[in-house]
Amino acid sequence: MENSYKLGNIEIISIILLVMINKLILNVPYYIVNLTGSGSIINILYIGIIDFIILLVIIKLLNKFENADLLDISEFLAGKKLKNFIGIISIALFMLVSFITLIDFSNVLHTIYFSNFDVIYILLIFITGILIANLIGFKSIARTATFIIPFALISVLISFFSVWDNYDLEHLTPILGKDYYTTFGLGLGNTFAMYIIVYYYFIKPILKRPEEFKKISIISYIISLIILLLTVTSMLTLFNTTTSSEPINSLFLLIRQIELGTFIQRVDSLFILLWIFSIFSYLSFVIFIVNRILKKMLNVTNEKMLSFSTCSILFGLTLLPINVSKIHFIENTLYKYIILGFMFGIGLIILILANIKKIRGNK
């Protein structure tokens, strides 16, 4: 891979955290709290441990393949056909993620701040930004992410501590939630919250120091888990978990509560501005990954030009007449199981089989 695509440790950790922050922005904490209620903290620790074990397995399995991502490993396992098949699935997954992120966040912006504008203008602004970022180059996306992440992390900490006075610690009990089955059985579905694992399948070739992949993965995973835990704790202590009311954006409701002294209220617009940058960078990164996959599949020399088509497809998808109910179904059901299937199904199976093949080949 070209040197211009190689990222340092801090840059890649920032990108992984950016993915996590975007999951937090888009109601993932609410889906966790909605399922496991007051047992969410125990549930996050539980799924955090499970996901961590799987992450260690993935790291171990990827060890044998230097500078290779899931596509390269698929090619090694069963040739070009499998590579293309995995490529199409990966593109479908990343396009779905981008589509959900873009449409959801644009709708939030439209509802809260820009109700006088047609949502298509908001979508166009995002698409143009993503296109320009990808045309400029991956380094610029990575640097923007590195610049934004400290502010995004501070914003999570601010949202946690600044509403401390309003916390109702009784919302954290009963500590195991509704019952054991919901927290530890059904709650297993919350493993999708650590969706960042999907990106570990693809980031190895873009690392400047691939030998530090394990260190990078573990550090980014632990920080991501901590910010997820903090956000869910804030949400749990502020909002009731026994009712069926569902906010369009739970983190926005949380930050609306922030008051710094008597005079500073409604600081949500500052957070929204930060989130806009964060969504920009995140979507640009996802489109970059899609372009890279397409490049590998189609043997294109310069994937930058592919940005025009991927961005157009993304824009076209967002114009589909999908109502709230369908978005909710895609977000809460379809999206969740596709991610789980990819993280712990296809990805892991290919890695295991490729490792077996490699061991047999060595023998």
Binding site: T111, E170, D179, T243, Q257
Partner: protein, 382 residues
């Protein structure tokens, strides 16, 4: 070619920067209201009133309202409608401006409407991104319109502070509670404690806070007086400061005033004895003697002890009266004992087996008061 391209880009940018737009919505297009009032009209609709500050002394009424305002600095517009949003739409049409709730500092609901249930109205407003969660909720003993009208005449010229004297009084009197929209919405949506709101009494010419409006689910079921409000704040650890008056133990027929606050958080322990909640509450008030007649001596430790005992008895009775009123008379858990008790269980299903909602009415209480007198203000002895 390059020059033409640059020129075109500059011209395009200039188009957006230097030209106005005929359809923009500016600050002039909004009608920033400072309070919303909700009443029940005679024909079963809701009467929506909105209040904004104005330099004019005239009064107006819009839509189908037949009411008028005597406000000199504030205008009140009323309309009858099926829903809040319909009412706002009618007022938007009448005022030829868009009503904006970002500066709304109070939502006033009449007692009559509150008793029929408020969830629909609260949910409607909660769904509006303009309304702040810090907006206060006030229950009016008469109509919301009347309260808004009386407050308009209070002489306050700074619109943001118009309702402050009703909503901030809890900080220094304890005669009512803090009741913000966010907290009230949480209470309505919560299974573990019932919501409360500021209760106000409207007299001929004035309006004043008068305890707490208490709810069961979304319906107001009654109100507690100022002394019950102090007891409620002590129990929920929300007491900032209050003045209590009790019999002077040193001089018969005289009264003694104390400025009271809490030096330690109230402890609550709940046990289930024979399927009946036994609730032990330990409170830790500290006080400063404000006035105690014409003869007092607080250099003497015995006197302080005697006074502390008297205060202990007074607060114990205050809390007992309050707790038995909410449990026996109203059967509403506004303190959140249920939330405290559920923390003793590992799962919600285990907690539900206790059938708390059914047994709460049978609760009995043990109050322990540990008062500390730490000051007698400027004089120790007279």
């Amino acid at each position: 070619m390059k020059k033409i391209l640059t020129l075109m880009i500059i011209l395009n940018i200039s188009l957006f920067v230097f030209t106005g737009c005929n359809n923009t919505t500016g600050i002039d297009n909004y009608y920033f209201i400072i309070s919303i009032g909700l009443d029940l009209s005679d024909n079963g609709l809701i009467k929506l009133s909105v209040q904004n500050s104005s330099n004019s002394s005239e009064s107006e009424s819009g839509g189908s309202s037949d009411s008028s305002s005597q406000s000199s600095t504030y205008k009140i517009y009323s309309v009858e409608a099926n829903t809040i949003d319909e009412g706002i739409a009618i007022l938007n049409n009448y005022l030829n401006k868009k009503i904006n709730l970002t500066h709304c500092s109070a939502l006033i609901i009449s007692e009559e409407l509150a008793k029929k249930g408020v969830k629909t109205y609260i949910n409607t407003l909660a769904n509006n991104p303009e309304l702040r969660h810090t907006c206060n909720i006030i229950i009016s003993s008469t109509t919301a319109y009347e309260l808004m009208d009386k407050v308009s005449n209070s002489g306050e010229v700074f619109s943001a502070r118009l309702y402050d004297y009703l909503t901030n009084t809890t900080d220094y009197t304890g005669f009512t509670v803090k009741s913000t929209f966010g907290k009230f919405f949480q209470g309505l949506d919560n299974d573990y404690y019932e919501p409360t709101a500021i209760y106000t009494k409207v007299n001929d010419s004035t309006v004043q806070t008068s305890g707490i409006a208490i709810f069961e689910k979304d319906c107001m079921i009654g109100h507690l007086d100022a002394s019950d409000s102090i007891a409620h704040l002590i129990t929920t650890n929300d007491l900032e400061e209050s003045v209590i008056t009790l019999d002077n133990p040193f001089l018969e027929g005289e009264k003694i005033d104390l400025k009271m606050s809490l030096y330690k958080d109230t402890d609550i322990d709940i046990q289930l004895i024979n399927n009946t909640p036994f609730i032990s509450i330990s409170v830790y008030p500290e006080g400063a003697v404000l006035s105690s007649g014409n003869n007092f001596n607080y250099i003497d430790n015995e006197n302080i002890k005697k006074l502390e005992n008297n205060i202990n008895n007074y607060i114990e009775k205050l809390l007992n009266d309050y707790l038995y009123t909410i449990s026996k008379e109203y059967n509403t858990d506004i303190v959140g004992f249920k939330a405290l008790y559920k923390s003793k269980f590992l799962t919600r299903d285990e907690f539900y087996k206790t059938h708390w909602d059914e047994i709460f009415q049978d609760s009995f209480f043990k109050i322990t008061v540990n008062t500390k007198i730490n000051s007698s203000n400027l004089f120790n002895k007279e």
